[in-house]
């Protein structure tokens, strides 16, 4: 068994092999792999014995289940109204400048991906962003530089 097959089998052991198990399994794969490859979706379908198209259909509905390879750290900047009013664009520009990539892209070293997302539920502390599951609020370009630098150092890169 390859690592993906092992992972999916383990996830199915925990979450079951029913249709209702799909979302937790998909989430488990994304947590580990950062995205859903075609292979992993086919493998999930085989593991719980449903058509691969059903797995694909479910997976592609949800914005946090990416079908494109993502970086180790996925940065999701909230673009909904309050964050947008409170300086989301400056935050985004700062991130793009630091990582030298465009919105939606992944750094060549596969560490960071920048995305925009809809309301994160931090409107009273706008603007906000997620880095993986971690929340950062009341962002300013300075604060973003600090946060991102600490992530870059984590990877042994300054």
């Amino acid at each position: 068994m390859n690592p993906i097959q092992t992972l999916i089998k383990e996830l199915a052991d925990v979450h079951g092999r029913r249709r209702e198990s799909i979302l937790p399994i998909l989430q488990g794969v994304v947590e580990q792999e950062k995205y859903l490859s075609e292979d992993s979706m086919v493998e999930i379908a085989r593991e719980i014995d449903i058509p691969a198209s059903d797995v694909y259909g479910t997976a592609t509905f949800y914005s946090f289940l990416e079908a494109k390879k993502m970086g180790k750290y996925v940065i999701r900047v909230c673009k909904t109204i309050t964050c947008s009013m409170k300086g989301k664009n400056q935050v985004l520009l700062t991130i793009q400048e630091m990582l030298k990539i465009k919105l939606g892209d992944t750094t060549p070293d596969k560490r960071f991906t920048i995305l925009e997302t809809n309301c994160l539920g931090w409107c009273h502390k706008a603007p906000a962003m997620l880095i993986n599951d971690e929340v950062y609020t009341e962002l300013t370009p300075e604060k973003v530089r600090e946060i991102l630098s600490s992530y870059m150092k984590k990877n042994g890169q300054i």
Binding site: N118, L120, K125
Partner: protein, 394 residues
């Protein structure tokens, strides 16, 4: 009018109560009919925004015949401008769990779920600890009930109850036709009570302090208190518990920055109220005889005169366009066309009269869309286009 500019603050939801075991124990001993009657007499209505009477919901589910039933707590808080449910689950999760258990006992459910939005995944660990502690107590008193967290994965429409069931069943989060309603056919086709996080927290208040205490707060048809998520151009953004029925004028007096041009009540799917209508608008459920009555999930976004209402509407429409599940044509195509339409008018590619056509399209969506998402796009669209017509054109 009494006490002008005075908002009635309250402190029930976040008040730390250390007696949930006792509240639960007492409630389990009471007759089911008693509690249902009490909930109905409190006139508690769903705090997610739709405002269905909670007691009735529990009653219908308790009367449904089935081998299995479920209680689900809807924590898919995705409406722009809403962030109260996260705070409840962070600070007083045991209130929600207690109310879920009481509901389970009444309707005859053994399993409960909290559908937590993917954006709040960081809450999961702490919440699971609270659930473990809760299970331990249920075990101790021989009460057979378990709660599990089900994680969402970033889809606004899954806050719609039937879309949420689909999502939990491993499918795309596409809303179902109603009826049948969830109390008859919900998750896995079984009778299901699905309540908003805040609604369940209010149930705890009612269990502890009695229906009368709750009923005495607020105004006719809009009883009790409500959490308001305040954001935008305000010097004091945050979460506030207020009695229902307040006038928007008083609200703005308290929370505005002195230059408030409009308030969006109820998030992107709610209504925009311009300054000239503040004094006529009250926050509560339908049924008031005079003035405009605005139901809300508690999202209050303030805009001052530096904001372009065109940009605001464009931001909402982009949101809806992305979050529409795409299942029904009025919503899928409607959201796209509304956004393209206002841009075309702004750029001068379409005459200003085109806005009238767009208003009719929004009305069509309201009538023909399958679920609340598509139906409510017209709320913000029409209220913004009607009140800020010039800003849409120039």
């Amino acid at each position: 009018m009494e006490s002008i500019h005075q908002l009635k603050r309250a402190d029930f939801i976040f008040r730390n109560e250390n007696d949930w075991e006792k509240i639960l124990g007492n409630a389990l001993k009471r007759k089911n009919q008693d509690i249902i009657k009490e909930l109905i007499s409190s006139e508690l209505k769903g705090r997610g925004g739709a405002g269905f009477p909670t007691g009735l919901k529990w009653k219908f589910a308790s009367e449904a015949e089935a081998d299995e039933k479920f209680i689900i707590c809807n924590a898919d808080e995705g409406e722009p401008g809403t962030f109260k449910d996260r705070e409840i689950l962070t600070k007083v999760p045991y209130k929600v769990l207690t109310a879920m258990a009481v509901c389970a006992n009444i309707i005859g459910a053994k399993k409960g779920f909290i559908y937590l939005r993917g954006e709040y995944k960081f809450l999961k660990e702490e919440l699971n600890k609270a659930i473990d502690e809760f299970h331990y107590y249920c075990n101790e008193i021989n009460f057979d009930f378990t709660i599990k967290i089900f994680m969402g994965s970033g889809a606004y429409v899954c806050g719609e109850e039937t879309a949420l069931f689909e999502s939990m069943e491993g499918k795309r989060g596409e809303p179902r036709n109603k009826p049948p309603f969830p109390t008859i056919k919900g998750y896995m086709g079984k009778p299901t009570v699905i309540n908003n996080v805040e609604t369940l927290a209010h149930v705890f208040t009612i269990l502890k302090y009695g229906a009368k205490k709750f009923y005495d707060l607020g105004v006719q048809y809009s009883r009790g208190t409500k959490l308001f998520s305040v954001s935008g151009d305000t010097p004091k953004p945050g979460i506030y518990e207020l009695e229902l029925g307040m006038s928007l004028q008083d609200f703005v007096y308290e929370f505005g920055d002195g230059d408030t041009k409009a308030v969006q009540v109820g998030g992107a799917s709610g209504f925009l109220v311009p300054r000239k209508n503040f004094k006529d608008a009250a926050i509560g459920f339908k049924g008031k005889l005079t003035g405009i009555s605005l139901p809300t999930g508690g999202s209050m976004m303030l805009f001052n005169s530096s904001r372009s209402m065109f940009n605001v509407l464009d931001n909402y429409l982009k949101f809806f366009r992305e979050e529409s599940c795409g299942q029904c044509t009025p919503c899928r195509v409607g959201c796209q066309q509304l956004q393209m339409g206002i841009k075309a008018v702004k750029r001068g590619e379409k005459p200003s009269s085109y806005l009238t056509k767009l208003l009719r399209l929004a009305e069509t969506m309201q009538l023909a869309a399958k679920c609340g998402l598509g139906q409510s796009v017209a709320n913000s669209f029409s209220s913004i286009v009607d009140n800020f017509h010039e800003e849409m054109i120039y």
